[in-house]
Amino acid sequence: MSWIDIGALDDIPERGARMVRTRAGCVALFRTGATEVFATSNTCAHKGGPLAEGIVHGRKVTCPLHNWVYSLETGEAQGADEGRIATYPVRIEDGRILIDGDAIGKRSAA
């Protein structure tokens, strides 16, 4: 893995999200707790809604366009909706957020 520093933990409010542009498309970063961050594709599997604009609750996010709910852990759509978004490894170190560059790179190569 190659960890890339993408910003400070405090740049994302608790229960909030921010977006990062990558070569593999936009990635959403969700801060679910004081020291917990998840990364997934920013693009809703339904009609492409921007997930970083959604409401974050527990370890889930609700798409702002038509309320699909995704597990941030698995990327699986919840409830009756069927679909999946990519998830990416992230870590927090010394208050910085690191994302796995290989995982993003791999996707772009595929």
Binding site: D11, P13, R21, C26, A34, E53, L72, I104
Partner: protein
């Protein structure tokens, strides 16, 4: 005998010496330096000393007799200035001491926020006995400000309070002890501390400490000034590594050691808070004791290796029962189990991953803490007890949580019916006196006999009092997080004075850690409407449009609609809009149905910039995205029209200027027409005013969306002032009573226009409603565009990072 020199007589070295002397009393000739003018004592028990529950003598771990009996040469009150590794000597203030083996155990230094005034007399840390005595010596009744709401800060605050001081705790994060606790537990802790008379301010950032020579006040970033005689800084610690660094030892964030506690010099060892092992630092005694044991073995030539373990935290404030252990941090595949008992103020949350317990937070009842901690440390497979795990070891096979618990837990004086001021106790009395159904309770107590929104609660009181003899008609709960309906939640927020979301989650028994996309926006509205001054709006509980102050479009861009008061504009405003449209490549410019102009297709990151440009021309947000005041449509009225009876344009502008910025359960639209020809379409608005010769006809409850409704007459008044007063009072009544996402016509359908008319006919009630509305406006009537287009806030609209610019591998 080998010469062993130890620098620092703290918790770690004290334990080390015990192990060494027990195992090999004559192996080393020990010299012990300590900067503090005393020997080893139990530092963690300083808090009970501060609070008066213990004396210093009781927490001394090694006294003069002990050092003498074991031949330890004490150099207390002497700071080591230098280590000369070539000559293998330690240089103290009173001379050199040679060593064969050296142990550095210098602990940590408290971190002092370097804000202006930090060096004034009366600003202290909380680390040693001198700090503690300084706090004890403060006169009762004097004012202390504690900066830092972590473990240390709260123990200091509780101790100072017990000594009779006025105490305020300032904490930067959103809730107390945020590293160890989640918001729910943080809320309960805060409530406990406030009950003791401690003032807690979260999200409070210190700007400077004021005073002439000694402390007089603490000033916050938001301008608040807190008078203070003593300021205690408890914001964190920094490993004390200067000595080691200066001696050329390998130092990262602290002194680097291997698993045998050896530094980069084979003759020099380190132990305690001053070490870094495998990238990790240590701030609690449990791992330091393990290190001391390992180091004793190493010094005696035995095999031992240090391995960090899971840690648990408790707060040593008598009566604040909290426990936190393990890990809540990132890693996919984790699941929460939450249990709340509002009646007893209990909250428990377990985090399970791969059938193992990895973290636990508890408040109120921590009896099972060690059992959970054991499961965490041992990595026990919990799949068999998954269902009942949260009830602890003694309660396997327990029942599900009682949906009625929140209402059953209410005290007798909790107000259930707001209209008629009826408390739970009065209802229970009536039920016990024979009123065993809703109708009878209404007849005897008047509870739920007016607007009726508390009906669900009255039924629950019936059920809780009568048991199985009463079946509660199923009310639609807000969402899957609770069994309570919107009406119940609104009522309980008021009667129980719940002023934060964690308070609601806890006291009303929410099943999820922090709600969902359905309940969070509703709670956020209820709280800000009921407690405009105390509650702080939570952008994270808002739908994107209200968080970004623009309407999201299907392609992820946004629309921007500036306010045009009463539909009136000027050439300068139109020019500014045209300039902005060109500058930001706006694909569509459209006149809306609300008498203003919509710029559609603006990129998210351009929003703060286009707003700044529009602001510069005096244009503010039109809130076309909000559950709040949208537009006030007007017609040209007496100014121009040959039929106009009153100044409909002027009244519309006046109303829009009064009402803009307010949040409401659903959107609110107004219109004012100058005569019954009704060119502003006032008869299908939430509030529509039709001017006539003799005054103003105020209609309410109109709509022209999915349902088309004509307004019904609320009142007819003679003057413009009265029209404004009635309108504001109506909007405030709607804000205080309606459920989230009910337009006024839906709300009126539930409570009845008659009840609203009766309420508003009382002049005193109208005045009070208007006053409450205006109070709320002091907080919320401010242009969000101006707030969000500052350089600092604008950053939040851009991507966090752009990795497409990174060089390809």
């Amino acid at each position: 005998m080998e010469k062993l020199v130890v620098i620092g007589a703290g918790m770690a070295s004290g334990r080390l010496l015990e192990h060494l002397i027990n195992a090999a009393p004559d192996r080393f000739e020990v010299t012990l330096f300590n900067a503090e003018p005393r020997g080893n004592y139990n530092r963690i028990m300083l808090s009970p000393v501060l609070s008066g529950e213990k004396s210093y003598a009781e927490i001394v771990t090694h006294d003069d007799d002990w050092y003498q009996a074991h031949g330890v040469t004490c150099r207390f009150g002497e700071r080591v200035a230098h280590i000369d590794r070539d000559r293998k000597v330690v240089v103290g203030a009173r001379g050199e001491v040679p060593y064969d083996k050296l142990v550095i155990a210098t602990g940590s230094d408290p971190f002092i926020v370097p804000c202006p005034g930090h060096d004034l007399d009366g600003v202290i840390a909380y680390r040693d006995l001198d700090d503690t005595n300084r706090m004890i010596d403060q006169a009762p009744g004097s004012r202390a400000v504690v900066i830092g709401g972590g473990l240390l800060g709260l123990e200091a605050a509780a101790g100072l309070r017990l000594r009779g001081m006025e105490v305020t705790v300032l904490h930067l994060a959103g809730h107390l002890m945020e590293r160890q606790l989640d918001p729910a537990a943080g809320y309960l802790l805060r409530a406990d501390l406030e009950r003791r008379g401690i003032t807690v301010m979260t999200q409070a950032s210190t700007k400077c400490i004021r005073g002439d020579g000694s402390v007089e006040a603490v000033e916050l970033e938001d301008g608040t000034l807190l008078p203070a005689d003593l300021v205690v800084m408890a914001v964190g610690i920094r490993p004390a590594v200067a000595l080691a660094k200066d001696a050329g030892l390998s130092v990262g964030r602290a002194i680097e050691v291997d698993a045998q506690m050896q530094t980069s010099d084979p003759h020099v060892f380190a132990v305690g808070e001053c070490v870094e092992f495998a990238g990790q630092l240590f701030g609690l005694v449990a791992p330091l004791y393990d290190q001391a044991k390992v180091l004793a073995a190493t010094l005696l030539g035995e095999d031992a290796a240090f391995a960090p373990k899971q840690l648990s935290t408790k707060l040593k404030v008598t009566g604040c029962d909290l426990f936190s252990a393990g890990d809540f941090t990132d890693a996919p595949g984790r699941e929460d189990i939450v249990y709340r008992d509002p009646a007893r103020g209990i909250y428990k949350r377990l985090v399970v991953e791969d059938d193992r317990l990895v973290g636990a937070v508890m408040y109120g009842d921590t009896a099972d803490g060690n059992w959970f901690f054991g499961l965490i440390k041992d990595g026990t497979d919990v799949s068999d007890m998954r269902e009942t795990l949260i009830f602890g070891p003694a309660y396997q096979g327990g029942a599900a949580a009682d949906p009625m618990a929140a209402v059953a837990a209410l005290p007798a004086d909790a107000e259930i019916c707001g209209c008629n001021g009826v408390c739970k106790g009065r209802i229970v009395e009536a039920i016990e006196g024979g009123a065993t159904d809703l109708g009878a309770v209404r007849a005897t107590t008047k509870a739920s006999a007016s607007c009726g929104t508390c009906t669900g609660l009255v039924e629950q009181v019936l059920a809780a009092t009568l048991g199985d003899a009463f079946a509660v008609p199923a009310a639609q709960p807000v969402c899957g997080c609770t069994d309570l309906s919107h009406e119940d939640v609104r009522r309980l927020i008021k009667s129980q004075e719940l002023k934060s979301q964690p308070a609601v989650w806890q006291e009303l028994g929410w099943r999820t850690p922090n709600g969902c996309h359905v309940c969070r926006p509703a709670l956020n509205f209820y709280l800000l409407a009921d407690w405009p001054l105390e509650y702080r709006d939570d952008p994270q509980s808002r739908f994107v449009n209200e968080r970004k102050h623009a309407n999201i479009q299907k392609d992820g861009t946004f629309s921007v609609v500036p306010r045009m008061w009463g539909g009136v504009t000027t050439a300068a405003e139109l020019r500014a809009i045209a300039d902005a449209a060109e500058k930001y490549d706006v694909p569509t410019v459209k006149v809306t149905g609300g008498q203003r102009i919509d710029l559609l297709g603006v990129k998210g990151e351009d929003l703060p910039h286009i707003w700044a440009d529009l602001n510069a021309a005096g244009l503010v947000s039109g809130h076309a995205y909000s559950k709040g005041l949208r537009t006030v449509k007007t017609c040209v009225g007496t100014d121009h029209c040959r039929f106009g009876t009153q100044d409909s344009t002027g009244l519309g502008i006046r109303l829009e200027k009064r009402l803009w910025g307010s949040w409401t359960p659903h959107k609110v639209k107004l219109a004012v027409s100058g005569c019954p020809r009704n060119c502003a379409e006032a008869t299908c608005k939430d509030v529509g005013i039709v001017c006539v010769d003799s005054g103003f006809e105020i209609g309410v409850g109109g709509a022209a969306g999915m349902d088309v409704k004509e307004v019904e007459r609320l009142a007819k008044v003679a003057t413009e002032d009265e029209a404004v007063e009635w309108t504001v009072a109506f909007v405030q009544l709607y804000r205080e009573h309606a459920r989230y996402l009910d337009r006024p016509y839906k709300w009126l359908g539930k409570v009845g226009l008659d009840w609203v008319k009766d309420t508003l006919s009382d002049a005193a009630a109208r005045t009070a409603l208007v006053a409450r509305f205006d109070l709320s406006q002091t907080v919320y009537q401010s242009d969000p565009w101006a707030e969000l287009s500052t350089r600092d806030r604008a950053r939040g609209f851009a991507p966090l990072a752009d990795l497409t610019l990174e060089a390809a591998e």
